[in-house]
Each structure stands twice: as C-alpha cells, then as structure tokens.
Symmetry: C2
DNA sequence: CCTGTTGCCGAATATACTGTTCGGGAACTC
DNA sequence: GAGTTCCCGAACAGTATATTCGGCAACAGG
C-alpha cells in the first residue's frame, strides 16, 4: 500500500481518538479532526464516508490489539475455565481506560457497543458451546451474558463499579456462571413463574 | 397550565413518535415534527431544547404508563417472586412493539437506554434489597441484571430472540436467579479464577 | 363580559457542519 | 526516470440548527 495512504489514514485515526478523549466524541467535528491530523477536507472524504466510518476503522485496530493480548494470555494459561476470556478482556480494557471512558459516552457508545457485542458474543458462544444449558435458546443466553458483561464494563469504566480487573471478573463470574451451569430441571422454581 | 401550552407540547410529542416509527428516529428532522404537529419553529424551541429533549419528555409519559400497568399487575398478584417485575415489564413492552422497535434503533436507543436503565435499576434494587448476595457489591449486581435484561429485551424487540413474554421471562429468570441466590462461599470455584 | 397576560405564528436570519468538485503539484511505485 | 496515484487548497451547494421579533389570537381570572 502507498505510504502516503497509510500515513493519512493513521493520522486521521489517531487524531479522532485524541480529540474524542479531549472533548467527547459527540462534540468532535470533521474539521477538528482535520486540524489535528493536518489533513484537508477532500482527502478525508476520499478515505472515509464520515466521522463514524473513521471511528469504525479505528475500532478494527483496537479489536485486533485486544484479541492479540487475549491470545497471549491464553498461551500463558491465564484464562482457563468457563468464560475465561473475560479476565483478559477486563485487563485490556483497564489499560486503555481513558480511551474507553471517552468512547462509551454518546453516539460512539452505540458504535463501540455494536462492534464489541459481536466479538464478545463470538467468544461467549465458543466458550459455552459445549455446555449449553438445556431448553434455553442460544440467542437469549448470548444476549444475557453479553449485555451483563457490557454493562458491568461500562459501569467499571465510568467509576460506578470499583475494584481491580480480577475482582470485577470474580463478581461477574459469580453472577453469571450459576445460571449457565444450572440444569434444565432445576432452572425455575414455581414461585418465580 | 395554559391550554395552548399543553396542546402544543402534546402535539409535538405525538408527532415525534409517529414520525420516528415511520422513518426511524435518526432520520427525523425538527422540521418533520413541526409539519406533522402543525407547530412553527420558534414555538418548538420555546418548549424544547432540541429533538432529544422532546424525546426525553415523551419518555416521561411512556415510563409513567409502564409503571401504572406494572402496579395494576402487582395488585392482581401476577408478579410475585424475585424479579417479579420483569414479566409485567415484558408484557407492556410487547404491547407497544412497533414503538419500541423504532426507538431502540439509532441515537434514540441510547436515550431510551439511559432512561429505562435507571427505572429498571430501581425496580431491581427494591426487589433484591432483602436478599443481597454477600460479598458482591451492589453496583456490579445491578449493572449485571440491568444489562442482561436490557439486551434480552432489545434482542426480543428486534426479533433475534423469539417467544412469548412468559417464555422470555422464564429464560431470563433461569439465567439470572441462580447467580443472585448463590451464597458467597460457593460463589466461585477455583478453576474460574 | 372585559382586561391584561401569555403563547403562537410567520418570516427572516445568523451560524455551523456536511459532503462534493477540480486542477495543480508533489510523492510514491516499479 | 516515467507514469501513476495521492494530497493540497479553495471554493461551493445543500441542509439543519437555533435565535429573533412584531403582530395577532387565545387564554385565565375577575
């Protein structure tokens, strides 16, 4: 790939994140990004459809980095057990706390959400594939786990939930695992219907 | 309150919802709402800060209606047990399926999310207040339950998750309750740390 | 019914941001 | 070194937001 192309794309991606962290994604105009990246309008639109498109392309990198770190920890045997991917995930998110805190708020939150939802859903599916609870549709289970995890992470980023990655992981697993490993015959007491 | 004020505000609220259901919230301009409501620009801005502000005021009514229906069902004894508020909630949402499906998508999704998160959080807190799991911070538990429920509802609205309100309720409870009633000593097996 | 107040209309206007166009010149690939 | 590709710069139309203000009509209270 042409070196110039790579340079402009990376400049724009970096600029967007920087400015978003400073003033919040919703308050970022294309012009702000252009100024920061030293790129001109027409160039921007020859690479990206709009601001959201740029964000989405930035997320590709962030996701790649996350999966990379996850694999490293997998190899080091640090993420065993059911939902073992959660701890590495939390640790990685913890590293870029400023970044994620900025991106969780506002319109970018939806985009981040949509991107990571599918990733987490995949990890969850792979993890739970073997011990699927009987009689409970997969879609509901995935939505349940992913939603719970996303909200916990969000609360953790925003400071509503405190604690280290390990602690948050423990809290999450203690809430999630019992429902997932429960057998179908026990899964609902009469009083709760 | 001046009758004209009430009329104008209600016209605008109704118009916003109508148009949003038709073309999606994100594609609604202030002008669209004005045309539908037969209200002029300056009047709009004398009542609401912007489109989102109008949506927020509309949600007040929707939430009120929801809580009203919930109380009715409570009196009829249809929502007993832990997380008993979930079923009435699902049933109410099911009633306005078109509406919610439209509001879940796009920018309005975040606003709806923010509004109902706090409502569901309150209901959850009240419900779980007595049997708080030991050693698990309340904030994490609330975020867990609320997130799981929100995502399940969203998936249900969008058709990813199928079934009746009763079935979805059962699925949700069977996933959530075991983790909530688990005692602290059992809450984590070594392998999952 | 009368009176003072309040809200709505209508139109104009400033502002800001988006997205597109195009030619000249520089940087890149091979 | 030749030819292609990309970036710059500046201009431009289009669209939506948000504010202003005078005149008229509807309202609440007595």
């Amino acid at each position: 790939m042409d070196r110039r192309v790579k340079r402009t794309r990376e400049s724009l991606q970096r600029a967007l994140i920087e400015v978003a962290v400073e003033v919040g994604y919703d308050n970022v105009s294309v012009q702000n990004v252009l100024d920061r990246a030293n790129v001109v309008r027409s160039t921007f639109y020859s690479h990206f459809r709009d601001k959201n498109d740029l964000l989405e392309s930035s997320l590709v990198n962030l996701k790649a980095g996350m999966l990379h770190q996850w694999r490293l920890r997998l190899e080091h045997g640090e993420s065993k057990g059911e939902l073992g991917f959660v701890l590495p995930l939390l640790q990685h998110v913890d590293g870029g706390r400023h970044l994620w805190k900025a991106l969780v708020i506002g319109e970018s939150g939806r985009i981040v959400d949509r991107n990571f939802r599918s990733m987490i859903a995949d990890l969850t599916r792979r993890d739970l594939g073997l011990k699927q609870p009987v009689g409970i549709e997969e879609a509901a289970t995935i939505a349940f786990v992913v939603g719970a995890l996303m909200y916990v992470i969000e609360g953790w980023m925003l400071g509503t939930i405190s604690g280290t990655a390990t602690e948050v992981n423990q809290r999450f697993l203690s809430l999630a695992l019992p429902g997932l490993t429960q057998t179908s015959t026990l899964r609902l007491r009469k009083s709760a219907i």
